[in-house]
Symmetry: C2
Subunit: 203 residues, 2 copies
DNA sequence: TCATTCAGTTTACAAGTGTACGCTCATTTT
DNA sequence: AAAATGAGCGTACACTTGTAAACTGAATGA
């Protein structure tokens, strides 16, 4: 087999091994280089052929998780175009993603408030991106002004992520209950933003 | 000195040492028993005279942080009675607390999504308590029905905590900006909840 | 006063960590 | 065909970790 390809494969197996270790009881800062190497089936020192240290692997994982998040947004958008309440479809798509990619979402959540400034910054970037996309959507589909649209998007994303954290380790039925609650809360924000926006325009 | 008193003092110094270690780069699961003991000025094995293991110390810290949170609520309530916008006073009191007790709040945030199920549960309990108090307040001061009041309180607490996380490591000026944004977002929720509540009553 | 209790110490050990160094040997390049 | 490259391995070392065992000595209680 070609050298390049083999290297890529090993790199992949390291990343996959790390994801496997990142269950509900482990964070990036608590998995060791040796542990990941063991799980990936390579010698500890071989790890260095692929990553400078464990933090570099961590950043790679966060980036991949962010990618998955963007795929989620694309999916939600296409579903919205098929019709249905925007809020309903969005929340359900999000919750579906959370439960199907529990370890990925857990990684984002955990490192968002984690001990590594670099990881935190990387996660914040991904969430910021999420907020921007939502802001654009709001601007394109309502009469709300830019600053208020931004605030609305931010509030909504915060609610959804916070609820996602709660939904990550519960069964389908409970997740549905959480979804319903979140939908109403997003309606609060939606209605309130319109109302405040209109008042402002009146003055 | 009396034996009991001396023991209490040492226990205190262990707890204080732990808080000192819990800066922006460390979590409960990443501080070691030996490290805490070193910081507290005792031998590693003496630690066991006070706590069964490091997790027991962790739960003690979370409990203390919860206590501080309740003190914060009391402070906010008394300030509200002195007059001023409820949202404005609450948000400012909260942000003040966050910056004055950075390590305490960080502990709550970090362990909320941390690796220990026991710590997570303990933090959730504290936040839940926070939500209940706010729900009671809403019920007592508005015409919103119980289920909506509960949803409103939950949404508000989520926004405030999420913003608190953002505010924890920024300077006074930026914190003020965050406060202003949060205030508007809470108004969204407040207005939306009223509106949805009224609609429901109409039907 | 004398025996008991017990917070805190010293010493010790097995287990796990990151990583430096030098080697192998299949692939790639010349 | 010969030389260079580089992914992966084995060994080794200096550290840190949790905690077991046996101790010291001052506060306590009889």
């Amino acid at each position: 087999m070609s050298r390049k390809l083999q290297k890529q494969k090993t790199r992949r197996s390291i990343i996959d091994a790390a994801y496997r270790l990142l269950d509900s009881q482990r964070s990036l800062s608590s998995i060791s280089l040796r542990e990941v190497s063991r799980e990936a089936g390579i010698a500890p020192t071989s790890f260095y052929r692929h990553f400078k240290d464990i933090d570099e692997l961590g950043l790679t994982l966060v980036d991949e998780a962010g990618l998955a998040l963007r795929q989620l947004m694309r999916k939600a958008r296409s579903r919205i175009e098929e019709g249905g309440s925007v809020i309903h479809v969005s929340v359900n798509t999000f919750m579906e993603y959370v439960s199907e990619n529990a370890n990925v979402f857990r990684l984002l959540l955990r490192e968002h408030t984690g001990t590594s400034p670099a990881f935190r910054a990387a996660v914040v970037r991904e969430i910021q991106h999420f907020i921007e996309e939502l802001t654009d959507y709001i601007l394109g589909h309502t009469a709300i002004s830019q600053p208020y649209a931004q605030l609305q998007a931010e509030a909504m994303v915060r609610i959804v992520f916070s609820a996602g954290a709660e939904a990550i380790d519960v069964n389908k039925v409970e997740r549905k209950l959480i979804s319903n609650r979140v939908e109403i809360q997003l309606r609060f924000i939606f209605l309130g933003a319109i109302q405040l926006s209109v008042r402002k325009d009146d003055v």
